[in-house]
Symmetry: C2
Subunit: 417 residues, 2 copies
């Protein structure tokens, strides 16, 4: 059992000393100065200030990575630096010898403003849930095979728009676009009429690689810094009209929301579980069995609230493809990684109806409206709706690791013709 | 007629005083110091050094934008700064009064190393040539409609990988990946067997916009800084297997090559021509007719050389969608622009066989091999092949505006299992 922290942490806190997620914050008195923070209980540790206060004697060169305005220098530094910095912060928060120097740099968590924790380089969105892909296939191809023929051979993915990734709490403006009504030959233009969410996890990449050098499965952990929550807002009507032949574009690119806290992969050791078995032969480069490493499935319990009410509890442990398989596949063609790359899992959906991670599945493309406790009916999102995704995972010693949440409220868009 | 330059510029130079494309270079004696350069004749003007030498009296605050290691600060500054900086550089190179201060900062063009001129934010690739899209449709759907139903209603596009965009001259490593042979149910894995190029133009974006605020057609020029050449290397076999349902991913993401020189949109006034007429009703937000602005078609003559031999001359003037329509469509859903965004036209193909901008069209998916003058046959690219794309456009007063070239040689990839 790890040493207890000297910080007063509520028993049910998602941010115990085994978690220590990273974020970037500002305070009201220094609104221009972005600083790296680490969540602990109801506080945020000003990590750069703590590094300076703890002094050169205890803070190695890694501490300099904490004085940046984003996590990108830390992401660049790679796995050994991540381990060293995490050990350092753990020592600050558990060793009474550091308390006098470090305690002044604990700020009440509700007093800070949280920002996007890193500059996103490339953003890739996968499609790694068999239940989600099967549901979507059944909805759109009721008489065909639900999964495309390639689905079990590789983790399908596409590049999304990095520049419109926003932090939790940012309002989401309903997009305008072209969509074609059923049975019509020509499209119309106007506000999206089928606005949806997708509950996903995002994986934050560090330790850049060279172009032309694929990352094998055995090295995946060298490049996965941590995990966040992600809402892949989706305009289903715009997406349906544009998507053949080159995939999603404007149906997704208006906004993607992420949680402010990045949970280190190192905090998720107790959450590792075997992923579902593969029932189709797999190429050796993607074969994750018997590699001698801990399993790469993650027992993360996701929860989705719409207008304050829980509407889904997708279990991430049911994902067919692991983060390591996604990362290795993404680089097998020689594509390089940059610090700040972000890849998302795709909608997390479990086998049960109440585990579906998007409205298109929960309402079966609008055919079966969701009825909330107050009688409100929803097929897709309406202006004013708030959608909140949260998650927890097992931590060591019976603790829980919390991811915080990613929240977004839909607002009306500009009137265009 | 603009004032002549005091620089000795060969008559047939692609880089006359009406062009003044921007790039980023280093010299052998200062290999770590990236500097902004402007091509003029056989020289490169060290623009930052010239700004300092020309002094505060003649160089306004805009000159500070030239002392950066990339074009990104200039891109951020927006259209009015672009005009001011171009006027300033033109004055330096045409007014004898500046000659003594500026001339020491002209370096022989063949003495410098050219780099990627800007940090690429988001990269979007369009599909804007009717001839290319029709050819591809005929190859893959010989019995169906060649164009997808949405094609004439919107410029189809998708996001690509920014992190693997490389400057001309960078070797292109043949990607490995999954592909499925004709008639087989399971894929195999190995080096791409159908490696192709795509001759495209790229448009470099500046003047960032806010999320939720679409850019109307009338403001497109406020956000298009300039134009480069682009080779969208494509692994056709990998692409075919992965592309349904979410579009191109590993078939494209291993490498995209761009030319080092960015030709300012302001240098292309004489190249503006009416784009081809639209024969399908168009949504008002994309209607480019009768807007009172100069036409947005561009009479740019593209040339493709394989192993030193011209294999295609695609005319950019035949593109169905203009850069303004692409940019406006890309933002109509509220997606914001960042300085350094890059969007590409998609393969430029004209109506004639010898105007096709990719091997898949030139060889009709490998069925009709290309035979070079020395008897070499090609269906797709082999290791060692060099592919060079160049282009010119009309300049003022009967001059030609050159784009330089984007070159890349294919090299064998790593052996994976």
């Amino acid at each position: 059992m790890a040493a207890p922290t000297w910080v007063a942490v509520p028993d049910d806190s998602p941010f115990g000393v085994h978690n220590l997620p990273y974020g970037v914050f500002t305070t009201a008195d220094r609104p221009q100065e972005r600083r790296i923070g680490v969540a602990i209980g109801d506080h945020v540790l000003d990590a750069g200030a703590a590094a300076r206060a703890a002094g050169a004697g205890t803070a190695g060169p890694e501490a300099g990575l904490l004085t940046a305005p984003t996590l990108n220098p830390l992401l660049t530094a790679g796995r050994s630096a991540w381990t060293a910095v995490r050990s350092l912060i753990t020592a600050w928060l558990t060793d009474e010898a550091h308390r006098a120097a470090v305690e002044p740099h604990l700020l009440p968590r509700d007093s800070v403003t949280l920002h996007l924790a890193f500059d996103v380089a490339d953003y890739v969105d996968f499609y790694a849930s068999e239940h989600h892909a099967t549901n979507v296939g059944r909805i759109f191809r009721p008489d065909g095979e639900p999964l495309p023929p390639n689905w079990k051979h590789l983790p399908i993915g596409y590049h999304g728009r990095s520049g419109t990734i926003v932090v939790s709490g940012t309002p989401v403006v309903r997009p305008n676009g072209q969509r074609r009504g059923a049975g019509l030959s020509a499209p119309s233009f106007g506000p999206c009429e089928r606005l949806d969410f997708e509950a996903e996890l995002g994986f934050v990449v560090g330790g850049p690689t060279a172009q032309g050098e694929p990352v094998p499965l055995a090295e995946a952990e060298e490049h996965v810094f941590g995990v966040c929550l992600l809402n892949d807002w989706s305009a289903r009507d715009i997406q349906a009209w544009e998507t053949v032949p080159l995939g999603p574009f404007l149906g997704k690119s208006f906004a993607t929301s992420v949680s402010p806290w990045i949970v280190p992969l190192d905090a998720l050791s107790a959450a590792r579980v075997d992923p579902p078995p593969h029932d189709v032969g797999i190429q050796p480069y993607l074969d994750d069995r018997d590699t001698g490493t801990p399993p790469r499935g993650l027992d993360i319990a996701v929860e989705v609230r719409l207008r304050g009410e829980v509407v889904s509890r997708p279990p991430f442990s049911t994902m067919y493809w692991t983060y390591a398989q996604m990362l290795t596949h993404m680089t097998v063609n020689g594509a390089s990684l940059r610090a700040g790359d972000l890849f998302a899992s795709g909608t997390v959906s479990g086998p049960k109806r109440e585990q579906r991670g998007a409205l298109i599945e929960l309402t079966w493309n609008g055919e079966e409206p969701l009825v909330l406790a107050d009688g409100t009916k929803r097929t897709f999102l309406e202006d004013g709706d708030e959608l909140v995704i949260s998650a927890t995972a097992p931590g060591p010693d019976g603790t829980r690791i919390g991811f915080g949440e990613v929240a977004g409220r839909v607002v009306a868009g500009p009137v265009l013709v």
